[in-house]
Symmetry: C2
Subunit: 376 residues, 2 copies
């Protein structure tokens, strides 16, 4: 059994699929690609059992076949070749022969039935009701860029290790939080005639963010899986089957003190104050008064401290409030390229809301930051 | 006591000096910069006791002073500032106050007498005879690029952990070897009226390689130290006070079999064969016959093997010889942008010489590669 493929076309295909190959796994079979050839169409799969990627390519092959081959070795060999035709030859002794004009390479292969089953989607779940929606790739990328940093890394609360996507006729609401900060983004132009919540795991979002482009993405949703069909690649991921915490309960409704400040100015100051904040608490203090925001930090261990004064507009009572400087930095890094942002405050112990000063027609972005206690 | 300095000028200066600050050291004092102000000239020093860097800047200061301050913290603060004037204020309580238009920062400082002494060079060794020579910066960088990769990393033979510089009226000969491969570069246009050998440690070369530009470098040599004065920065390093092994004894004189091959072609093939060479031996086999070089490798553990055929010109007996593929790759990566290279061989157990096919007027480059045993 044999087939031919152009080395650069195969490289392009493998480059798209390899992100789903786990770098460390207790199941060595997952370190492989699954090759499937059917009627002249080569489809390559990879999976870590949570997400799977597949993509296809038309090739010259006379027979149908499938086999499993070590992903990294094959990928490294293929991308080290200049543009040429690779002839694949599958022998019955478990050997896969690759040959080009000038080189011959032997790799081992395994039978495809040793490879885990990959959900065919939509397809074999024909009896289950599937939701279907199309979202622009750039908009999806924007959404993940704004929200995914706030997901939790702690396995204690699995739901928070994913990002919530809440579809409704009022728009698509996307929420991520780790309990210290929260992002709540409403995409007002993505309206659906159904109302449903899904929690997408972190790895799916991180792989998707790398492969999304400006083209539309077709999304299929079942109770247990979500699939994203891009132009020439499909990602399927398990959903997190947990209840997402009631985030709306922590969003304060009446934070009446408003601090308006230039994003770049406060961000630069926070980056400097991170250098002075104590390694264990990362704490910075905001002291806010009329027209002045003072940010300060100290690290008693190394006898260093810093203070920054930033011009601002402030409507509210004089207040001193502490934050974890890394979380402030995360929020300022992801809130966008807005010129001005608004902090909405109430008291030193109540959650603070951060929003862009200018509202957008297409989306409504709100970030939330929990304060930390000030000792003095 | 106080002085003022432009933030961007100070950043530029610190960027040059910080490479000498050790990232890990049992002597915390070395994690600091030494600041010395004398008659309006600020000189900043850093050292790891082996190499030291210093550079100067004219500033506005009314008094002379010196102090020691944490290098990384100061550097991070200074480079996080936009262009502004920084006012330094040294208090007698061990506190250093930095202030700008919008921020105030407190750091700790130590007295300068806690800092190790840095050789003043040339200067306080006036009684010792100093050699002096000037070399173009690009030429020095070329020299280190070609040779330094071959230095040994094994502490058993300290001399080989450095690069040999042999000055004579025949030219400057630079040699590096770890016993498996050797580079021997003669710079025919750098003639001196003295004959002397020096061994320069790896760290000095690695730091120098980063800061060298096309300008001339003034070099001072004593028995124990070498100093490199660039345009605005000076590097002083201890020399390795050992005898360099007699490398000329291992260079074969009569390797009469000549293999001429295109550099890019053999290099691409070697990179692919590295993927197939066994992880423990890294072995590749060269089978050379008239007009054909076959390179092959196999990794029995993963059941993979590869063979490449490369066009060549060969004058000599049919030969099979083994090499460590990483060492072949190192040599091919550093031999330059030559179109063709020549392997000079004699037998499967004798060192192989690799040279560019075209000779240069300015330098004479020779690399040497020890073969490894082939089992079959």
């Amino acid at each position: 059994m044999q087939f031919k493929v152009n080395s650069k076309e195969l490289e392009k295909l493998l480059t798209k699929i390899i992100p789903a190959v786990p770098s460390r796994t207790p199941m060595p079979i997952l370190e492989n690609f699954l090759f499937e050839i059917k009627d002249g169409l080569l489809t390559i799969y990879a999976t870590d059992l949570e997400i799977s990627l597949k993509s296809s390519l038309n090739i010259v092959a006379e027979e149908n076949m499938s086999f499993v081959v070590h992903a990294k070795l094959l990928y490294d060999v293929v991308r080290s070749l200049k543009e040429t035709t690779i002839n694949f030859e599958i022998e019955s002794n478990g050997k896969l022969f690759l040959s080009t004009d000038s080189g011959k390479y032997t790799l081992s292969y395994l039978e495809s039935d040793e490879y885990p089953e990959i959900p065919n989607f939509p397809g074999d779940k024909a009896d289950e009701e599937l939701k279907e929606i199309s979202i622009n790739g750039s908009e999806l990328k924007f959404t993940f860029d704004k929200t995914s940093f706030a997901m939790s890394k702690e396995e204690m609360r699995p739901a928070m290790m994913g990002t919530l996507a809440n579809f409704s006729n009022g728009g698509l609401r996307v929420v991520a939080t780790d309990g210290h900060r929260l992002v709540n983004l409403l995409l007002t132009n993505i309206k659906t005639d159904f109302e449903e919540q899904y929690i997408i795991p972190e790895r799916a979002i991180s792989v998707l963010s790398k492969i999304l482009d400006e083209k539309d993405v077709k999304i299929y949703l079942s109770k247990s899986h979500i699939s994203f069909s891009l132009n020439d690649i499909e990602l399927i991921t398990r959903l997190i089957g947990q209840k997402y915490p009631d985030y709306s309960a922590v969003i304060p409704l009446e934070n009446e003190f408003l601090l308006t400040v230039k994003l770049k100015e406060i961000h630069d100051a926070i980056k400097r104050m991170m250098l002075f904040s104590a390694t264990n608490t990362r704490r910075v203090k905001f002291s806010i008064d009329e027209n002045n925001l003072e940010i300060s930090a100290e690290d008693l261990d190394i006898g260093a401290s810093g203070t920054e004064n930033i011009e601002c507009t402030y409507q509210g009572d004089k207040i001193e409030i502490g934050f974890n400087s890394s979380y402030v930095n995360d929020i300022l890094s992801h809130i966008g390229s807005e010129e001005e942002i608004v902090f909405k405050l109430h008291s030193p112990t109540k959650a603070v809301i951060v929003v862009p000063a200018k509202t957008s027609e297409k989306h409504d972005l709100m970030m939330l930051l929990m304060p930390v206690r000030l000792n003095n």
